[in-house]
């Protein structure tokens, strides 16, 4: 079908395949080995938009930090384009939960930081930064410091900073969690635009069901303690998606499915936490 054809086209065109191969991540807590994740395997295809969805404490952030190379798995291996992931690398951009812009750098300098390090040659870091600022509509704020910007603006800069390295994979850790719902919806639509433009793999962590259904090609629903993938849910909503998508019956149906699965998990997690 057309969707499949599009996918094969993307596969041949872009890099950014992430393989999660039998991963376990555990932490040492009070002399007890606590598994945040246990025996997780999946493949994220190039150009795919995948949401990791689950209640808090299900290990979705651990999985993302593992892919990013910040956390070493206790078992298994992450691969990016068939190469082992041994640590953070510029092929994978990361957008963080909190406002993580450097307060001592101007907006422009924040975005130019990645390009100035990786130095790809053809364009000056300044030029790249200005291009990205134009793309996110914040050219006027190039020489402002982050604390002069609103939360939504800061997070737009955060996304631009991650994209300015032209990564193959964009990892996002609840990037819109701190924004008000109006701003959040606009940010989601803009993110989808950027994703289409860059043909980039996105792994997006969230606990917001609507957000996951609206954004993703695929939702990996996670269960708690230890974290596992409970359900691998295809989101077959047509693209491009906009406000009307959220009113469609299929959207509501998918949301319902996620809702009941998550509720089950939240209750289970609640009980287990009480037992511990």
């Amino acid at each position: 079908m057309t969707i499949n054809m599009q996918k094969t086209l993307k596969q041949t065109k872009t890099k950014g395949k992430v393989v999660i191969d039998n991963i376990s991540i555990s932490y040492f807590n009070r002399n007890k080995n606590v598994y945040a994740l246990r025996d997780i395997s999946t493949t994220i295809n190039p150009g795919e938009f995948v949401c990791l969805l689950g209640p808090s404490g299900c290990g979705k952030s651990s999985l993302l930090n593992g892919i990013a190379g910040f956390v070493d798995p206790s078992k298994g291996q992450f691969y990016l384009d068939d190469k082992k992931i041994m640590g953070p690398r510029p092929e994978m951009g990361m957008v963080f939960q909190q406002y993580s812009l450097y307060p001592w750098k101007t907006v422009k300098e924040n975005i130019a930081f990645g390009p100035s390090i990786n130095n790809r040659g053809d364009e000056s870091p300044e030029k790249i930064a200005m291009n990205f600022l134009e793309m996110i509509g914040l050219s006027k704020y190039a020489n402002h410091y982050p604390n002069e910007l609103s939360g939504g603006m800061q997070q737009r800069v955060g996304i631009a900073r991650a994209l300015a390295n032209y990564p193959d994979v964009l990892l996002m850790d609840e990037p819109f969690g701190a924004l008000d719902s109006q701003t959040r919806i606009i940010m989601q639509e803009n993110l989808l635009k950027l994703w289409r433009e860059f043909k980039i793999t996105v792994v997006f962590v969230t606990h917001d069901i609507d957000e996951a259904v609206f954004l993703a090609d695929r939702i990996l629903l996670m269960s708690t303690l230890p974290g596992k993938i409970k359900k691998d849910l295809k989101v077959d909503l047509p693209r491009p998606r906009d406000k009307e998508t959220t009113d469609s019956s299929r959207f509501i149906e998918l949301r319902q499915i996620c809702h009941s699965l998550i509720r089950e998990e939240s209750l289970k997690a609640f009980d287990k936490q009480n037992q511990l």
């Binding site: 690398r89 951009g93 990361m94 963080f96 909190q98 993580s100 001592w104 990645g114 390090i117 991650a162």
Partner: protein, 288 residues
Amino acid sequence: MPSTNVSQSSDFYFKSYKKERLMLWELIRINSNSFIRKLTSIILFFVLWEFLCWIDFNFIINFVFVPTPVEVINAFVQFINDSPWVHFKASIFRVIGGFISGSLLGIFIGLLIGSSKILEDFLATPLELLRPIPAVAWIPLAILMFPDAESGMYYITFVGAFYPILISTQKAVENSLSDRLMIRVGQSLGANSFQLFKDIIIPSSLPGISAGLVIGMGNAWFCLVTAEIIAGRFGIGYKTWESYVISEYPPIVMGMVLIGLMGAFSSYIVLKITEYFMPWRTISKDGI
């Protein structure tokens, strides 16, 4: 006269936000309430002092032998008429020399031991053992260790400046390193250790280093009298010490006040210079 479009407070906030430079008199005008409060506090301080001397206050603290502000001012006038510049110059050079060497070495070693456990193990212990030694206790060794009195004096102001700068730099770096998010952002953008250090650790440590520099500058003046006890014929501290030896009280207080003034002024200059390097910081104390 230029037009006074800064008289309204909203204009003022707009101006400071834009980081335009204001003339001194404009600043005084804008901050007139604060300025008046500060002026009043100083006047009250002198009035209280004069009053306590005048009534020969003697309860726990004895003001009978304390020179009055007027006597101190007379001593100052006399001092000014009697080629004061040699004294100022000698002291300022000693303080600046000690401060600059202290800050260069303090920041350098502070960055090293703040960021490396191995270097901390090697360097921190001896430095920590030397730290509590007061400047006065260094006098004999300073005389023995240095070829002339002048370099001994530099050494003592150096010791004063060095330690606060060292410790604040070390702690500031450790604090920056504990901010995992900032480090992770850098790593995910592809920064190596050197780039992390240069673009993230150092800028985020600047506020701490700045505090160390301000304290260090004050401490260098602190140690000046001690330094100038060693020898010499010039210097504010020497003048103070000499007046004590010959039991002339007003110049002692004058020397103290001068050191206080110059110390406060130079700390202020250091603060302003370091603020220049941290333009991103906006501090509002009234909004807590």
